[in-house]
Amino acid sequence: MEQYYAWFLLLAPLAATIAILLNLHRKPDYAIFASVGSASVCFLVALAVASGAIPEPKPFEWIAFPGWNVDIGMIFDPLAKGMLLIVTGVGLLIHIYSIGYMASDPSRGRFFGGLSIFMFSMTGIVVSDNLIMLFIFWEGVGFSSYLLIGFWYERESAALAANKAFVCNRLADFGFMIGILTLWLVMGTVSVRPEVVAEGYRSSSLPWVGSILTPGEVETNHLPSIPNLHGVVPASALILTIMVLGLFSGCVGKSAMFPLHVWLPDAMEGPTPVSALIHAATMVAAGVYMLCRVYPLLQLSATGMFVIAFIGCFTAIFAALIAVQQNDIKRILAYSTLSQLGYMVMAVGCGGPDAAMFHLCTHAFFKALLFLAAGSVIHALHDEQDIWKMGGLYNKIPLTFVTFAIGMLALSGVPPFAGFFSKDYLLSAAYARSPIFYWVGVITAFLTAFYMTRLVVVAFFGPPRTHAAEHPHESPKVMTIPLVLLAVLSTIGGFIGIQSFFHGWFLDVMHAMIPNGVIAPAAESGIFLEMIIPGALVLLGIGSAVYLYWGKATDPLDIEILANKFYFDEFYDRSFVGGQQRAARFLNWIDSWILDGLIIRGSAYVTFGVGEILRLFQTGSLQGYAFLFSLGGILLIYFTLFAH
């Protein structure tokens, strides 16, 4: 019987969603009950799963063709278990927090419906045992984030942000789907279970796959032996590279990597709990989670791995730079999220998926904390988000301040908070791949400390700069309790053995699938590189920020290019969106004037014209008729008799 319990992970939030959709959206209190209840059920089941009390359920066949099976099944390995706990745990806390945060919104029933469908999709991603199922829930996550970002749909900006998020995700999923399909071509399976992949890998490859490669590549790419990370796979193994990049493309969209990072800051148009849940702790982490899920496959392409590492690294510093000059409290956090995700992706690309997962967990704690605390601040100030309109809050909303500060320290990587350990572990993984990644990472850490300190100093210290900031009020208990819990997790997150939990498992998987596959060795770079340099730079960042911003009423730095996010939005608007619009208008012109106008209407007019001309023969004159009659007859006779 217990094999069915696992389905509650999916059924509970789905049931809540359906109930809210059908009726409960009119009764917010019941909706909240259903939604929070389902989240609790999920968390409880997740705990049971993590403890091993609930086994994997029997998968059922969803699509079955010869050569292509998609089952709906669950995989409960350490990776999934850990992620499941985080998703459901943080999710539950955010549900609870939302009760307070959304208390005054009349359509909160709908909001909780959105949260529930998000929970459904997100747990689905985590437990998926194959990529199609993962893709299904992946899309579901995109859809629910669309709903939640666009929650205040009356605002033009919110509606646009929702669209942007969905379209960016779709664009990425375009690549992701190609990746999945290529994977299927190569492996003959879409399962992510290590044993199945390994089996498919050995028997792999439809015979004609090579036909899209050049002949030379076909020879080298018949995969007689199993390659590993360290250079066995030639970089010209185009199809494998396509596969890896395709899979990574999914991550680029979901985790908002450069160049599809633009949707995430805009997504802050949603209510703050949504930002916390989706755009900090869980959904954006799904990309990283997915990469870790398919990590053994990623290693088939060295090029792919390098691209992953490079994009991650670039996003990390790029977003951190932008964050330095943002003024909206949520946007700062959003860019910091981008930056941290860049870290994680870089770690995956550098061969440290365990480090990435470790950082993912700790980041979930403190970023959720930061967002929720920021929400609390916003709530306290009646929807004020500009940090330059805050100030002097530290003693007026002390609990929020303390939790926010803990989050900030954790994010900055100050020991002994969670972020310190995970980030150091991650940096050492990067160092193992290439010192350049390491150094960029360290600089990013400096920047992180800098902008977070800037945020805290400007928002919480100094004189209150607006009327609202003079009389804030502390949030209700239902909001602060999650804050406290998350603060505790952010503090101790580095000590509870998450890292070794994942590390061991990854080693197992790698060995199971690819005998000589390797992940980066843990903490081999030495204490100096791992702890001292980052620590020093973090302190330097904090110090410089305090020095620059303490007591200032305006921003002493004014770097326009950073404040304008490197003009990426404008660039995309002009180039891609504008180009697409122009192409669309051009083709529409062709369609309506050439195809429909000239050809279709033209032929109709020609028909009418011919009719008009032919009727002119019918002049009504009897002589004319007689003439035509005789002429026709004579011509017919002449040509019939004498023409040949």
Binding site: Q623, F627, S630, L631, I634, L635, I637, Y638, L641, F642
Partner: protein, 222 residues
């Protein structure tokens, strides 16, 4: 001698025919037509169709043309021929005429003359046998031809009732012709019957009228 009469009759006929077409006066045209018919009757005589020559003069020249003349006089058409002849239609008709004559000329030039020359049968005996076999209507020997005149032969063909062996008899068309004449009679009555309706409106006001059964105005076709 033969040639002389031929040219005389045919020349006269063609001149008269041209006069019919070219003359502006309808009465003169009709008279010319009568003369043309008379010349044609001459040609008929030359072709030893004596009966038809007589019929031609009696019926066509005597009855039909008189009818024409009668109508021309009745309708008083003299005023109508002062409109100049349309040059365009003259040109057109000339084109037609030349075209048709060209075709006839080429046809006649390329065709052996007559059925006898056309047929693959050559000797008189063969022809006779073939005619008998082909159940041609008037399959009689040359001597019989010499003995009977054309009136006899026509009458025989028209009215004979012995049609065994599929022999031809033209009694059917003859009967139908009577039907046809009956129809023509009805037609003339129907078309020219005077009824009690008032005289037609003056010419300018006449528009397209609805059928007489239920008089009402219909719109003019544009």
């Amino acid at each position: 001698m033969n040639a002389l009469f031929f040219w005389l009759f045919s020349g006269g006929m063609i001149v008269c025919a041209l006069a019919v077409v070219l003359n502006r006066n309808a009465v003169a045209s009709a008279l010319c037509f009568t003369f043309a018919i008379v010349f044609m009757a001459g040609l008929f005589v030359m072709l030893s169709a004596f009966f038809l020559a007589a019929v031609q003069i009696l019926v066509t020249a005597g009855a039909v043309m008189v009818l024409f003349l009668f109508i021309i006089m009745l309708l008083d058409l003299s005023a109508m021929e002062h409109i100049p002849r349309p040059k365009m239609w003259m040109g057109c008709s000339l084109v037609l005429a030349l075209g048709f004559l060209l075709i006839v000329a080429k046809t006649l030039a390329g065709t052996p003359q007559g059925f006898v020359a056309q047929s693959s049968l050559r000797t008189p005996g063969q022809i006779h046998a073939a005619r008998n076999e082909m159940e041609t209507g008037d399959a009689i020997t040359q001597s019989e031809v010499d003995q009977r005149d054309d009136t006899h032969r026509i009458g025989y063909l028209l009215f004979r009732t012995n049609t065994s062996n599929g022999r031809t008899s033209y009694v059917a068309p003859f009967e139908i012709t009577s039907l046809l004449i009956l129809v023509a009679t009805i037609g003339v009555i129907v078309l020219c019957k005077q009824d009690e309706r008032p005289r037609p409106k003056p010419r300018e006001e006449i528009t397209r009228e609805a059928p007489p059964v239920e008089p009402k105005e219909t719109s003019l076709k544009t």
